[in-house]
Amino acid sequence: MGELTLRPGPMPTGRAAGPTPLNALGDNVLTTTLDKVINWGRSSAIWPALFGLACCAIEMMGTVGPRHDLSRFGSELFRASPRQADLMIVSGRVSIKMAPVLRQIYDQMPEPKWVIAMGACASSAGMFNNYAIVQSVDKIVPVDIYLPGCPPRPEALIDAVVKLQRKIRGEPLVKRPA
């Protein structure tokens, strides 16, 4: 090891040390933009809505399960109430009967909110080009990430969450197009 550069004096800490002198902040100050720090917070703890539709919901559960463990990416806390969630994972085919319900759940989520269309059915109705299925969920809600696969593997869902985090970090704070 080379020579240590010492601070001018010992760092006073705690209440016993009295009011912290200004120069004691030293190199503990970090300057950044508000955008960056808020987006860092938002992207590091995305809470998805506990909302499963079809086959993809099973793989979504697998992603939370012990092997794939979505909590490594701060996104494991599935909330049953949409009021507490900021990510909607549309995991499966959306029927025409379900569409208004899905939109209502989306509307109940507080801003800012994001949507992952998980799997072929949510992205484009997949193989179900028929009377019962909404042909892509982006007709009802704005989609941030389209995730291919039928159903996508848990690794793919993790990748989608990571890509979404990257997207959130780049978003302007003031205005987000709805």
């Binding site: 025409i96 009967k97 109705a125 179900f128 080009n129 028929n130 009377y131 019962a132 299925i133 042909q135």
Partner: protein, 165 residues
């Protein structure tokens, strides 16, 4: 034999019977279908209801074949009861009095194929929204979905890229 017993008992009502790949099915007059069913349940032991459905044959008259299939758990046999229903208002008697399990199956048949089951306690749409128009499993109901546009095709004079938005 079951078919012979049925034929002797219901000489008028039993129109035909067939045994295709070991599946026994009988075609019964719609007016007598509940009577036949009651006989099958009480005398022949067909106690377990399997499903009810209908098949749409637009070229035939009457147009619809309504199908119920039941099983006898004790005898390990199965019989398919068929009857017919014609346009404009296809209707057949309900089986819910004989086999209560037919309830939802008949609701589904009403929903998807538009067969009315006379005397059904709760004949509402089951799978489609209540305000839905039409009966999707009829052959003349177009499974609309969306046309698939390839890059070298045009739809209603629009360029493919314009359709995709």
């Amino acid at each position: 034999m079951l078919v012979e017993r049925l034929g002797n008992r219901f000489t008028q009502a039993l129109r035909e019977s067939s045994d295709f790949r070991g599946d026994l099915s009988i075609v019964v007059d719609p007016n007598a279908v509940v009577e036949v069913a009651r006989y099958l349940r009480d005398e022949e032991g067909f106690d377990y209801f399997l499903y009810a459905t209908a098949v749409d044959w637009p070229a035939r008259d009457p147009r619809f074949t309504v199908v119920w299939e039941v099983r006898s758990l004790a005898n390990k046999t199965r019989i398919r009861i068929k009857t017919t229903a014609g346009m404009p208002e296809p209707h057949v008697p309900t089986m819910t009095d004989v086999w209560p399990a037919a309830n939802w199956h008949e609701r589904e048949t009403w929903d998807l194929l538009g067969i009315k089951f006379d005397g059904h306690p709760d004949l509402r749409r089951l799978l489609m929204p209540p305000s839905w128009e039409g009966h999707p499993l009829r052959k003349d109901y177009v499974s609309f979905g969306e046309p698939v546009i390839f890059s070298d095709q045009k739809l209603e004079g629009l360029e493919p890229d314009a359709i995709r938005g």
